[in-house]
């Protein structure tokens, strides 16, 4: 019997997923990586083993295949101590405005899938009486903006789900963390013009996730500046806000 804790990363092949997995492994957690393409996760698993001498398991997980969620959770050899959902799809706002399939994919990838899977894990965690769930949401969910409201609305839904789940689960010994990274230099944001002082590297987000789990933080703005920025953006009257193009 090992006494080591296990962290599962859903969306393990993303830059933030890789960073989060490394942060937990460095801290001594065994790791389970889950993603659509298990073969693509092999090099990341090898990396974690080589670096930190931890156990790494791989599982196939497709966030859009919600019908498989029950068997996915039921089929795990052991229930992890921490589940982190990094899954998200930025999409292209302009396309999502007229392409319903694209808009649906964004909504399902950022809200439906992540919420349902964390909800399922929450039931198991509550039955056990312990565990931490981490949802990587977005500052974009704090207020719908003209330039990305399809994505933002899905993240808003996810944030609200996590907030409610946290309130309920906290009575049962289960902690829920909402992470709002702000701009992160990753493949998802590649080519976007990011504002330097508001932008962080993926490892910073990975460390922030680990710290939030260890310190039982509720809501994390990875860069404190974002908390302030979003406070201002949220406070703008709608009459002013609707004139802004960002």
């Amino acid at each position: 019997m090992t006494s080591r804790k296990t962290a599962m990363v859903l969306g393990g092949s993303s830059d933030i997923g890789r960073a989060a997995a490394r942060a937990f492994a460095k801290c001594g957690y065994d790791i389970v990586l889950a993603g659509r393409d298990v073969a693509a996760l092999e090099p990341d698993a090898a990396d974690l083993r080589a670096r930190y001498n931890v156990e790494v398991g791989l599982h196939r997980f497709d966030v859009l295949d919600t019908a498989s969620f029950q068997s996915f959770v039921g089929g795990l050899p052991a229930l992890p101590d921490v589940v982190v959902s990094i899954i998200g799809l930025l999409g292209v706002q302009a396309n999502a405005e007229s392409d319903l399939a694209h808009a649906t994919a964004i909504m399902r990838s950022n809200y439906e899938g992540p919420a349902l899977i964390l909800g399922l894990f929450a039931e198991r965690f509550l039955a056990r009486g312990s565990g931490t769930l981490v949802g990587v949401s977005s500052v974009a969910g704090d207020r719908g903006r003209a330039s990305n409201y399809v994505y933002g609305s899905a993240k808003a839904g996810f944030s609200a789900f996590l907030s409610g789940l946290r309130a309920r689960a906290s009575r049962g010994g289960v902690h829920v963390v909402t992470v709002k990274p702000g701009f992160v230099r990753t493949k998802m944001t590649e080519g976007m013009r990011l504002i330097g002082p508001l932008t962080v590297e993926a490892p910073v987000v990975g460390d922030a996730i680990l710290n939030a789990v260890e310190n039982k933080t509720d809501v994390v703005y990875v860069s404190g500046k974002w908390r302030l920025v979003m406070l201002i953006i949220k406070a703008l009257p709608e009459a002013v806000f609707k004139k802004l193009k960002f």
Partner: protein, 441 residues
Amino acid sequence: MTLVSGWGRFPVVDSDVLRPRSFAAVGEAVSSGTVARGNGRAYGDAAIGAVRTVAMTGFDRIRWFDPVTGRIRLEAGVLLSDLIDTFGPRGFLPFVVPGTRFVSIGGAIAADVHGKNHHCEGGFGRYVDSLLLRTGQGEVIEASCEQNSDAFFATIGGMGLTGIILEATMRLRRVETGWIRERVISASDLDAAMRALEASNAATYSVAWIDCVARGRDLGRSLIYLGEHAGRDELADGIDAFPVGKRSTLGVPIDLPSMTLNRTSVRAFNELYYRMGARRAGGSHVVSLYPYFFPLDSLKEWNRIYGKRGFLQHQCVIPEAGARAVLGEILDRVARRGEASFLAVLKKLGQGDGILSFPLPGYTLALDFPVKGDILNFLDEIDRLVVAAGGRLYLAKDARQSRATFAAGYPALQRFNAIRKSLDPAGNIRSKLSQRLFDEV
């Protein structure tokens, strides 16, 4: 197109920057005029593609590590800082580290970087057993001493011009701790400094900081830093065997006005620095590997202190026989010019391993200058002294040497180019540096 520059922020040029996410995509990214870029710490134009630059830092995975032998296989975008932070606490460090830990493995191989131990342990390439190279004509080959050895020795120190380094297998050094036993020697002039370095040949690590403002009798006065890996028994109780390498928080947030470093401020700094160092001289003490090897890494973006126009680092190596006279002449010219070089480092080097590797047995001197005034002409004059003494300049630092200076310093260029041609007949792999110095026009 994106504006790209090296660490010296001179020159700033246009190049398409691509960030492939798979080795297959790396292959697709290569077209006419491409070179790989690691963490962008080459000072000049070495890691800027003539047309297209392939950013490799996303490839940062370890493939395997054997804790028994200390051998490791990794992707070329892994940073030395990552390697040190990850494997240091497990008792393993790279054999060779340059003056900054924020370089990629691919970049370290391509520049065959040297450290404070080159005089006795050789350069970075000596500890590379094999590497995976994507050549300009699209082959992916494993190269080592035994297999594709021409490609191997052309790639070590080859400034990325043999193709794109994808992975490498290298050896790590087993250490008991991450601490260095440091001994400081003060040398009152250049002769004393060179004698002290000569006498310290047996030291694992040695380097001299030179006060380049000092003139006349004090010309070349130096502090020599010797170092050995400290054993566990040399640490006081309660000290962790491996120190923490902090993320630097202290930075240079803006481009300082280029007059910040003037003769008076540097003279004052150097005077203070020399006196404080000289006071510590003689005894030995244990310091963390981070300040010992990477004193400037604690100051984020220190390259901005030279102002917006950037700076040049002139690093030459002079063969041992003529070194004293030429170094004296260079230092005298620098001191008389009065445009103080903030950083001046003198170090003994041994034989290089790659065909185009910089080191040769002799002394290397590195000087920093802000880009202004007649600095380019001044350095051309210095180059004449270097060439006359059979010396050469370090390509990883270079942004401005002439074709003639380069050709005189690197007689193995023809052999290098022949190997390059066999790997890349169409000449796809070209950087701004290769264009400037030796590609056929």
